[in-house]
Amino acid sequence: MNAIIKKELRVYFNTPIAWVFIAVLMCVSGLFFTMFNLFIGNSSVRVIFGVLPFVFVIMIPLLTMRLFAEERSLKTDQLLLTAPINVSAIVWGKFVAAVVVFGIAVVLMMIYPIILSFYSEVAWGSVMTNNIGFFLLGAALISIGIFISSLTENQFTAGIITIAVLLVMFLLSGISVSSGYESIDKVMSYIGILKAFDRFYIGIINLVDVLYYLSITLIFVLLTVFRIERRRVK
């Protein structure tokens, strides 16, 4: 698995992907920080943190779209799948590499509360819960992106489908569906992936929310493994 992580990180940083990802995240958050903290003189980082999940939805597909689609189109999957390494090690390796790049961006964003702490009191507890929430949300979104990448040979198709799927999940978080059927409403609320994040956002760590994100991550990573194993037999 280490070899896979190392290779993926090398690709991320040898190509513009990781740099663009981090730069866009920093630009957007920097813009909001300037507008809603520096200009107004507000010490709460809530505005930036509130807008970031939407940026993730747009940007995470950039990290995940090529992971399996490109291997397939370049036929390098023939190397991976005929080597004595498990498919699950390959999938987890790619997942971890994407989470590392994502994590670097999240850690860099700590610069905003640190700047604010020079001028006023910062609610570190809330900053921390937000960061934990970011990691859990990011991991879940990445696992969904990886799964979609394993479905196609074309990385741009994978990227566009991932953005579409994540957008739907994002939009469903903001509304509560009342279809008249309780079960449908419940499923819809599970698909609304940011609902759980809202509680991290206001500073609450709820075990159910943590498990929600971890289980989404696990399910999609396992689905990817299953999908790749399955394709061999097809």
Partner: protein, 313 residues
């Protein structure tokens, strides 16, 4: 050492491989011939674990891929038809990565690069390498982990003649140490390096033998090409009078005052002496050119695939 038993692969209702069985013995170089689309790559992909067979089994030294995929895959090095290279890596980085996923020590890299003669491009990006070099990096990758068996899918396809000679040299060097399974549709190449050949067409094995035995299999008739100086009528009369000749066909002659023929001798009869003597007694005739047609793998291949293919349809 490798036993392929009753491999069948179906994509939907289309049967790509139909009950293919063969063995590869320790230390031999086995050639795998067939036209494009015959099922060569499919067979190799199944043997290396890239895809699964619909039915049938493959085992290497008694290990079935279904039972212990890891131990099985460690014994095989595979060069697919398109070498699986990452363009944005240098050769050294790539080899390091391959060592990682094959659980091999990176100390073997220098030796392998030396062996396939790519030490000089070690620090270059793979995307900047020529096709011949890329192919060699592909072979280098297959050698990582010191596998007993190397499976090479069309290793010389798309290379220029110099590069082909290069790769062929590398392959015959490797053949001294490893068991090789090489596919190709270029028949002369296989007959040069292989101890034994299997031929596949439309998903079915049609022949399995040494290149030499296969040649005798098809060479029912001995074929000669001659150019004789003299009058056409007289020459043809003479040829008809020679006992061992079954029939002859006239060919356009390149020299004025002479005639060229393709002569088919009767089975097992050597007509060379009698033809020479018969011509020699005529003062106005002389043999200008006389050569035998060797049966090439091309002939075997065409006759086998056409026959069996024709049968099926």
């Amino acid at each position: 050492m490798i036993k392929v038993k009753n491999l069948t692969k179906k994509y939907g209702s289309k049967t790509v491989l139909n009950d293919v069985s063969f063995t590869i013995n320790q230390g031999e170089i086995l050639g795998f011939l067939g036209p494009n689309g015959a099922g060569k790559s499919t067979t190799m992909n199944i043997m290396t674990g890239y895809i699964a067979a619909t039915s049938g089994s493959v085992e290497i030294d008694g290990i079935d891929i279904m039972d212990d995929a890891k131990a099985y895959k460690k014994k095989i090095g595979y060069l697919p038809e398109i070498p699986p290279l990452y363009n944005d890596m240098t050769v050294a980085e790539y080899m390091e990565f391959v060592c990682g996923i094959k659980y091999a020590d990176t100390s073997c890299i220098d030796k392998i690069l030396e062996e396939v003669r790519i030490t000089d491009v070690k620090d270059r990006l793979i995307k900047n390498l020529s096709k011949g070099y890329r192919q060699r990096v592909g072979i280098a990758q297959a050698l990582v982990g010191d596998p007993d068996l190397l499976i090479l899918d069309e290793p010389t396809v798309g290379l220029d003649p110099m590069q082909i000679i290069d790769i062929r040299n590398v392959i015959s060097e490797l053949g001294k140490k490893k068991t090789l399974f090489i596919s190709s549709h270029i028949l002369s190449e296989i007959s040069q390096v292989c101890d034994r050949v299997i031929i596949i067409n439309k998903g079915k094995l049609v022949a399995e033998d040494t290149p030499k035995n296969l040649a005798t299999l098809v060479s029912g008739k001995n074929k000669y090409s001659v150019c004789i100086e003299g009058g056409k009528e007289k020459i043809e009369k003479l040829l008809s009078s020679i006992q061992g000749i079954e029939r002859f066909e006239e060919k356009a002659s390149s020299e004025a005052g002479s005639c060229e023929y393709i002569i088919y001798a009767k089975n097992g009869v050597d007509i060379r002496k009698s033809l020479f003597k018969a011509v020699a007694v005529n003062d106005d005739m002389a043999i200008l050119m006389f050569k035998t047609f060797d049966v090439t793998l091309e002939d075997i291949f065409i006759s086998l695939t056409e026959e069996k293919g024709g049968e099926k349809e």
